[in-house]
């Protein structure tokens, strides 16, 4: 049986759950974080005409041969920890060498990826997600991405109902010694009256889709694990991330036509894991919002009992769905 390489931050506790499932099944796991390189993790990879990349990844407690890695789980590794005493130019140089050397060999592994890191990076782009989802047969909200106030006003005029604004990228920042989050916001007439600042960067606007509830659909390989998310508050109904205490969850089924389209989407994005968000309208129509290639899933498993860690382990071990 081959080894399973797990690449994640040490304090990523959901990854602990996957490691525990794999260990209980008797799988050989080698867990590492990029932060361990080069001071706690040694790389000695070789390639020649006879064989692909072989040689070891070694830490103080175990070693794995690159040629024996059958699968790799990639989840939020942290930056290389370089030796103290380097100058800033040396640090930049060394970090680039580490990324190209260690990262290059790891991404060259001919193994089952959950998911391929380059594919995860590419799939982070919401515009790409929306375009691909649409091509795969999923309904998407009418969307505008712009730095033009005039375009915002025109979009608001074209949409029959309300519109929302949400970040195109990360919603979180720290400023003024405080952590702040830009949640999804329903736009008011007052908001539209003063659009100063739209031209400072890209902004994303979408038609507001009437919802009965939302669905977090966690995908691991061909396994679809869907949970309804219901909120009892206005804030939670606009963006469930803003009011977790108001939420309740229920395991649900994915309609076959949606499931087929999601599998096409995942193939097109070359993802083997994703946390997808859908709005389900009062008449039962599913509208795709986004796919998070490295999305959170542990709390959904906790609240619903959906076997997500087990599904990720199945995918890493090549267990048929």
């Amino acid at each position: 049986m081959g080894n399973i390489l797990v690449i994640a931050a040490r304090d990523d506790w959901p990854t602990d759950r996957v490691v525990k499932v794999l260990a209980d099944r008797g799988a050989e796991v080698f867990r590492m974080d990029a932060a361990e390189f080069p001071q706690q993790l040694t790389l000695a990879g070789r390639i020649d005409a006879r064989r692909g990349w072989t040689g070891g990844l070694t830490n103080a407690h175990r070693a794995v041969d690159l040629a024996d890695i059958q699968a790799a789980y990639y989840r939020r590794p942290t930056a290389f920890q370089l030796p103290k005493g380097m100058s800033e130019p040396e640090r930049r140089f060394a970090a680039a060498q580490a990324r190209a050397g260690l990262g290059g060999i790891i991404t060259a592994l001919d193994c089952r990826w959950v998911s391929d890191p380059a594919a995860m990076s590419r799939a982070e782009y919401k515009p790409l997600q929306l375009a691909t989802a649409r091509q795969c047969g999923l309904a998407v909200p009418p969307t505008l991405i712009t730095n033009s106030p005039d375009a915002v006003r025109a979009f608001a005029g074209d949409i029959a109902g309300p519109i929302i604004c949400k970040p195109v990228a990360s919603p979180v920042l720290i400023e003024d010694d405080e952590l702040k989050v830009a949640y999804t916001r329903r736009i008011t007439e007052d908001d539209l009256a003063d659009l100063r600042g739209i031209d400072t960067t890209a902004h994303l606007f979408q038609a507001w889709i009437e919802k009965a509830y939302e669905v977090r659909l966690t995908v691991a390989g061909d396994r679809l694990l869907a949970a309804e998310i219901h909120s009892t508050t206005s804030a939670g109904q606009t963006d469930w991330r803003s009011d977790y205490q108001s939420l309740s969850y229920r395991v649900t089924d994915t309609p076959p036509v949606i499931g087929d389209a999601v599998r096409r989407l995942m193939r097109r994005l070359n993802l083997r894991f994703g946390a997808l968000d859908f709005i389900v309208s009062p008449d039962g129509q599913w509208t795709f919002l986004e796919v998070n290639p490295c999305g959170e899933w542990d709390w959904i498993q906790h609240r619903t009992g959906l076997p997500i860690a087990e599904a990720i382990a199945d995918e890493l071990q090549g267990v048929p769905a």
Binding site: T15, H61, R99, V172, L179, A182, S242, D298
Partner: protein, 99 residues
């Protein structure tokens, strides 16, 4: 001839050095320079914060274990994306690692 423009950062994404969210004491600027969407930025509800149990990483088990008796840390907390507004404990980003 077209050159490939993929940047190596995209091929092996890592959380940035110092954490996913750089700390800053800088105050917000005015409406002409501040991204419009940040007008309605919120501090996450601290009353919904989840206190993580003290833990250390066990090299043999390759997972975190509790400092005190009790369940494994992963069994004791299930933090969703934005648990609190503590700048010393920035939340994981639902979108994953960013450079």
């Amino acid at each position: 001839m077209l050159a490939a423009l993929a940047h190596p950062l995209e091929g092996f994404p890592l959380t940035a050095e110092g954490g996913s969210l750089p700390y800053s004491s800088e105050a917000p600027t005015g409406p002409n320079t501040r991204p419009w969407i940040l007008r309605h930025v919120q501090r996450p509800d601290a009353t919904q914060a989840i206190v993580k149990p003290a833990a250390v990483y066990d090299e043999q088990a390759q997972m975190s274990i509790s400092i005190y008796d009790g369940p494994l840390p992963y069994m004791a907390t299930h933090s969703p994306t934005v648990p609190d507004g503590n700048v010393k404990n920035p939340p994981p980003l639902d979108e994953g690692a960013k450079d």
